[in-house]
């Protein structure tokens, strides 16, 4: 697919710039023997200009073509498949979560509890979106009748707050159905919104036009208490629970923003900062809207993306504790933009162009990680043709009443990775197709780096990484390149070991999860800070929600065990009433885990890091089986692997050393092998020594090395036994006496002495044992050999 793109670009260049190319070529041809710098500069510049234009526009063309074709058939919506051949970097899985209830008065999303809420006249239904399952059953709670502007469950899920009007918020306790109302004090201010917080000083934050009110809610006294007020004129605000950050916009253009982070560690006030807005002309003053600002959490760092409609750019800002730093801009190809974050990958949905562009902003790179492609719908019941399903027609058939509009006006992108189709009342979860993304990248080391940062489907990602590495080695790429790839894997593993996040318990209490970021994230961001240059004192604001993501389980796993899940959900429904939503969530999780034990192991992996053992069994061994001929390439790679592990101070199990020895012995590279052993590149161990002994049949030098190794490892028993085997029984005896080795049977020594047909030696050995081992004289062995010795001596005498 990628190739097709490049060839078409090339073709376009050749077609469009043929005249310039001809001129330049002619010019050079004329002067050929004396080639100089800048000799056909004019012609060259013309050609360059033309080529650049073509290249630049190619992306635009691509998108434009796309949107045109999409527009042309917008009623039918044959989106997504025409250009991509059924592949896409991101997709949504059929079926969606249907929130279709009679009498529903709209859909609300509570991003703190990850609940989808649909109020009816006297009830509110909620669907859990984590873990995402289309079959999850709704839970109902009673509320009073009245208008609903927004609705949010408290963080302990015990109460519900409903935003009724500009002046009024109503509270319900779920268990007791108690209720009371909080009113704005003065008429001059109105409530813009509210959110629950896990901040130690307050429970609820109400955003008003005059500022923030920090409140505690008490059902016993049926009242709210004001803890603190932050005075500030506010036009609109943006909040995400993931970042615990609220941004308040003020000013004529609404581009002056003030931020507060209300996390479990306390309240941090961010310095006021101005958004960048380009002006179309001197007098125009574009106004920033709330829809134009997105707070995203990526790798535990908090960014803000801001749409600049005039410049057609998406500016990004990164938040630090005491600074906000502008980070650069992403291009916009559509007037309507939305963003999602899936597994720390930023998806910028160019809604009008009907494509999504993926960015991995780990390394401050602004380059997209794949070509702009539309989201794809997967898992629709197969139509009669075998080809990937066309969204439009299939929807006509399947979801009879509601027309699903891909990138339609009804689409609302929910934080961080959900899409809510308001018209059909269905919710989709966005997934990344890492396989497609990685196959579109030819730079394997950076690709692996990207994959190693993915946490969502850790076991799948890990398998993908292993497959990529295997293929990379089998293709016999240059050792330096493979070394880079291995470095990536090893350092990722060492990182995951250091942070102990490899096998993390998922049952972290949500409240405590907000204590800070993953240690990994914070250390990563600490590293970055020095590069940003804000200084040591600036701690970046940490997102506390990153744990939530790791709790999400691949929805397809859920589908596999869909029945059990349903049961689980039902059985846990009883609990819900008694306890909290939170436990329901865990109950479901447990149920699913019980359903499939092997999956449990996989889903608990939170990092795709590959241990040296897995490298050995999943990369080196299979590759060793497949590679024919000289193994030196594979040995070179193993050496690089050892270098990498050594520099990261990771222990390697002996099996990889044994494997290396086998490889080298098979092709009789004894010189290299002995160097590797002598210099302890292959660290000494019993397994290594035994393998060397085995190859000692072919090369006595190896046997010597093995013996030396055994002695150095103080494996006295094996050493003595081998010495006896070699016929050096006298030396073995000496050694046995020195190191008090009594475990070797005396008969071995005696047999060896007898084999040498030296009666003196036999006598010496016999004598030694009768002295060395108490009671040896009484054993039948002694008697036997004593007799033999006598016979030998008499034989001599005769």
């Amino acid at each position: 697919m990628k190739e097709r793109n490049t060839t078409s670009t090339l073709k376009r260049i050749l077609v469009n710039c043929s005249s310039q190319a001809k001129e330049y070529g002619g010019c050079v041809a004329k002067k050929v023997p004396e080639v100089e710098r800048d000799m056909c500069l004019k012609e060259f510049l013309a050609l360059k200009n033309c080529m650049q234009n073509v290249c630049l526009t190619s992306v635009f063309c691509y998108i434009k073509n796309f949107s045109m074709s999409a527009n042309a058939s917008s009623s039918q919506l044959t989106v997504g498949l025409s250009g991509s051949g059924g592949l896409s970097h991101a997709y949504v899985q059929y079926p969606p979560l249907k929130c279709n209830l009679p009498g529903s008065r709209g859909l609300y999303y509570d991003d703190a509890n990850k609940l989808l809420l649909s109020p009816t006249s006297d009830q509110v239904f909620s669907w859990k979106t984590v873990p995402f399952s289309p079959h999850v059953a709704a839970t109902a709670d009673y509320i009073n009748e009245g208008p609903v502007l927004s609705i949010r469950y408290s963080l302990d899920a015990k109460s519900i707050a409903v935003h009724r009007s500009n002046q009024e918020i109503q509270f319900f306790q779920r268990e007791t159905r108690e209720t009371f109302t909080h009113m704005c004090k003065s008429e001059s201010e109105s409530i813009l919104g509210f959110f629950w917080t896990d901040c130690p000083v307050c429970d609820l934050v109400v955003v008003k036009t005059s500022g923030l009110d920090l409140l505690t809610v008490s059902f016993t006294s049926k009242s709210v208490n004001l803890v603190e007020t932050k005075k500030l004129s506010v036009n609109w605000y943006v909040y995400t629970h993931g970042s615990r950050l609220v941004l308040l916009a003020s000013g004529m253009q609404c581009k002056t923003l003030t931020g507060f982070q209300l996390s479990s560690v306390g309240i941090v006030r961010l310095p006021r900062f101005e958004m960048v807005m380009a002006k179309s002309d001197a007098n125009s003053k574009p106004v920033l809207a709330a829809e134009d600002v997105f707070i995203i959490t990526v790798y535990g760092r908090i960014y803000c993306l801001q749409i600049d409609r005039v410049a057609m750019q998406l500016h990004s800002y990164r938040f630090y504790r005491d600074a906000v730093v502008q980070q650069g801009s992403l291009p916009m190809f559509s007037s309507k933009i939305s963003v999602s974050v899936v597994d720390n990958v930023l998806l910028v949905h160019q809604v009008d162009a009907r494509v999504s562009i993926l960015y991995d902003i780990f390394e401050d790179s602004r380059a997209p990680i794949s070509a702009p492609l539309p989201l794809l719908l997967r898992g629709l019941p197969q139509s009669h043709t075998g080809r990937p399903v066309n969204v439009g027609e299939s929807l006509d058939r399947n979801s009879s009443n509601h027309e699903l509009m891909f990138y339609g006006d009804d689409w609302t992108f929910l934080v961080p990775d959900l899409i809510c189709d308001v018209a059909s009342k269905s919710v989709w979860k966005i997934h990344l197709d890492l396989e497609v993304i990685s196959s579109s990248s030819s730079e394997v080391p950076s690709n692996l780096e990207f994959l190693q940062r993915r946490k969502l489907e850790a076991s799948k990602t890990k398998q993908l990484c292993l497959a990529i590495t295997r293929a990379f080695i089998l293709e016999r790429r240059p050792v330096t390149m493979v070394a880079k790839a291995i470095d990536v894997l090893v350092s990722s593993y060492s990182h995951s070991v250091k942070t102990c996040s490899n096998l993390k318990e998922t049952k972290v209490d949500e409240a405590s999860a907000s204590v800070g970021t993953n240690a990994s994230n914070s250390s990563r961001s600490a590293k970055d800070e020095s590069r940003v240059g804000v200084g040591d004192k600036s701690f970046n604001l940490s997102a506390s929600d990153s744990d939530d993501q790791s709790r999400e389980i691949d929805s397809r796993d859920l589908q596999k065990s869909g029945k059990e899940n349903l049961l689980g959900a039902e059985s846990s429904r009883g609990e819900v009433q008694s306890s909290s939503l939170h436990t329901q969530q865990l109950g479901l999780g447990n149920n699913q885990l019980n359903a499939n034990n092997s999956e449990r192991q996989d889903s608990q992996l939170t990092s795709p890091a590959i241990s040296p053992d897995e490298m050995y069994s999943c990369v080196f061994v299979p590759v060793g089986e497949e590679i024919v001929g000289d193994p030196s390439y594979l040995v070179a790679i193993i050496v690089e692997f050892l270098r990498s592990t050594n520099s990261e101070k990771i222990k390697v199990r002996p099996n990889i050393y044994v494997f290396t020895i086998q490889l080298l012995v098979r092709y009789e590279r004894f010189a290299e092998l002995s160097l590797l052993i002598i210099n302890k590149v292959l660290e000494p161990s019993k397994e290594v020594a035994m393998q060397l002994l085995e190859s000692g049949h072919q090369n006595p030098q190896m046997r010597k090395l093995a013996l030396d190794m055994l002695r150095q490892l103080s494996l006295h028993h094996d050493y003595v036994t081998l010495l006896v085997q070699d016929g050096c029984y006298l030396e073995a005896l000496r050694y046995a006496r020195k190191h008090k080795v009594t475990s070797v049977r005396p008969s071995l020594f005696l047999e060896a002495a007898l084999a040498s047909k030296d009666s003196q030696h036999l006598a010496a050995v016999l004598r030694f044992f009768s002295d060395f081992i108490a009671g040896f004289r009484n054993t039948p062995e002694y008697q036997d050999y004593f007799r033999i010795l006598n016979e030998m001596n008499t034989g001599l005498a005769v």
């Binding site: 240059p478 050792v479 330096t480 070394a483 001929g629 000289d630 030196s632 390439y633 040995v635 070179a636 050496v639 690089e640 050892l642 270098r643 050594n646 520099s647 590279r669 010189a671 290299e672 160097l675 590797l676 002598i678 210099n679 302890k680 590149v681 660290e683 006595p700 030098q701 046997r703 010597k704 013996l707 030396d708 002695r711 150095q712 070699d726 016929g727 050096c728 030396e731 000496r734 006496r737 020195k738």
Partner: protein, 527 residues
């Protein structure tokens, strides 16, 4: 320098190479002689030396068909025999001067012969194959003469160097190995001990080198200073290539050439090829064999007979690769031709590329068969190597020099020792330290080594099957009260002189034990 030294040397030593399969008819005896040093001896004398040797060989073969005679000790001479290839014998006749009476190690002398031969084979292939190529023997003679003369003059040079460096053995005689050298072992490699991390870096470099050369059957040798760091060659090839590298390629060898360059030029002003002209001009070369050969030599000297051991012909190119004009220059371009060496085991022909960065010398052997268009293809390989590995080489050099203890890195104070492993790898006290030993101690050690060698040979003969080498422990008190010690254990040998341990045998044994535990991981600790 050439004339004088060679003449004086000739008094002390004769060296001849002859082929028993040639000249079997009466009157054709001269045909046997492939090489004789000094060349100006009358043929009658030459033939008498060879005749005696041949007679002895034939005689002793009756009793020991596999290993004929090794040495004859006459009243005034020692004859040292070495069968280089089947039926091609090298014999060295050494005068027994008063000083070196019974002190000249026969084994060391034989190792000199072995070394010349292995170097010759490295660059020219086996003598037998050369004789088969050209049955008249002219070809091999024309190659052997310059080669061995260069080798011997290397000896003179080495000892001269010793003079200037260590004020040792003043004189211009050909310095054959004597008792003074009994704490070193010819024909072994000296290894650099490296830590695991550095070793991995080195291995990684080696692998990158081999892979960047494009073919899988590349070999490499890495040296740091005059010490071997890594090799992928077979042991025998490693030894001969290592010997050559230390003689001619290492930074030490290159710089020593540079310092004495002017001196040599002055002395060589008269003749282009000093050593060779000495041979050809000095003696009354009457016989037509030699004359014809010399004539042909003079003509072909420049184009055909390469002299790999010729002094001061290697220099470091701008790209870091070592170059030499010994093999001439490429037609058309000004680059010098890359030498070709022969591997002993596989008899493969390999291009020898040497790269040097500071103290690090890397020798890369690329199969001739894998490079299609000669020098051009080779320069591509070199470029590839530079591209892929130059960074690694810098890093390895840095790492190794950081870990290196300098000239006296392997000195153990209080001990003068020689450690030989499997007759392939050796380590010894630095020569400057050995020099401080008294003559008596060295003489005693030399004698002791002779004994040990004899003992080893006996053991080998009696039980060739058992791979458990004989264990030996000998402590001798020399006249001056020093302890001279030899220990062998499982193929490893330790020789030691303890001059200050004048106390008791117990004390000496204790010192050896300590040494063994600390530096040889307890190999020689008996009980």
């Amino acid at each position: 320098m050439g004339l004088a030294s060679v003449n004086t040397a000739s008094e002390g030593m004769q060296l001849c190479i002859f082929d028993l399969r040639r000249g079997q008819q009466e009157g054709q005896e001269l045909d046997k002689i492939l090489f004789f040093f000094p060349a100006d001896l009358p043929f009658a004398t030459q033939l008498s030396v060879i005749g005696l040797s041949e007679g002895l060989i034939t005689f002793t073969r009756i009793f020991s068909p596999d290993a004929a005679c090794e040495v004859i000790e006459a009243e005034r001479h020692s004859h040292v025999f070495y069968e280089a290839e089947s039926d091609i014998w090298m014999v060295m006749v050494v005068d027994k001067s008063k000083e070196s009476k019974a002190a000249c190690q026969v084994d060391a002398l034989r190792k000199v012969l072995k070394e010349v031969h292995s170097l010759f084979v490295l660059f020219h292939g086996t003598m037998r194959s050369m004789l088969e190529k050209e049955t008249s023997g002219g070809l091999i003679r024309s190659h052997l003469y310059p080669f061995i003369t260069d080798y011997l003059s290397a000896y003179q040079k080495q000892s001269l160097l010793c003079n200037c460096c260590w004020d040792f053995l003043i004189g211009r005689k050909l310095q054959l190995p004597s008792f003074h050298d009994c704490l070193m072992e010819r024909g072994t490699v000296q290894m650099l001990t490296v830590g695991r991390e550095a070793a991995i870096e080195v291995q990684s470099l080696v692998k990158v080198l081999e892979c960047s050369a494009g073919t899988t059957s590349c070999y490499s040798l890495v040296l740091f200073q005059d010490l071997l760091v890594s090799t992928t060659l077979s042991p025998d090839d490693t030894i001969s290539l290592f010997t050559y590298a230390v003689l001619r390629l290492t930074p030490h060898a290159l710089s020593s050439g540079a310092t004495s360059w002017s001196y040599l030029q002055r002395t060589n002003a008269g003749s282009q090829v000093p050593a060779l002209s000495t041979i050809t001009n000095s003696g009354s070369v009457s016989d037509n064999i030699y004359r014809s050969r010399d004539a042909s030599l003079d003509q072909e000297n420049n184009c055909q007979v390469k002299r790999p051991l010729h002094h001061n012909r290697w220099f470091r190119g701008n790209d870091g690769f070592l170059a030499s004009d010994i093999w001439g220059t490429d037609n058309g371009s000004q680059t010098s031709v890359t030498p070709i060496v022969y591997l002993q085991l596989t008899e493969e022909r390999m291009y020898l590329c040497a790269y040097q960065h500071k103290s690090l010398t890397i020798i890369l052997l690329v199969p001739v068969s894998s490079i299609l268009n000669g020098e051009q293809g080779l320069s591509l390989v070199k470029q590839q190597v530079l591209e892929n590995a130059s960074l690694k080489m810098l890093m390895v050099e840095e790492k190794l020099s950081k870990g290196w203890g300098g000239e006296n890195a392997y000195h153990v104070s209080g001990y003068r020792y020689l450690l030989v492993d499997d007759e392939r790898v050796s380590r010894a006290s630095p020569p400057a330290k050995v020099m401080t030993l008294a003559k008596e101690s060295l003489l005693a050690l030399s004698k002791l080594r002779e004994e040990v060698n004899l003992e080893k040979k006996r053991a080998k003969c009696s039980s060739s099957e058992v791979n458990c080498d004989k264990e030996l422990e000998i402590c001798v008190r020399a006249k001056n009260g020093a302890w001279v010690i030899a220990r062998t254990s499982r193929g490893k040998e330790l020789y030691m002189v303890l001059e200050k341990a004048s106390e008791t045998l117990l004390y000496a044994a204790d010192s050896v034990e300590k040494f063994s535990n600390r530096y040889c991981s307890g190999v020689f600790s008996l009980d």
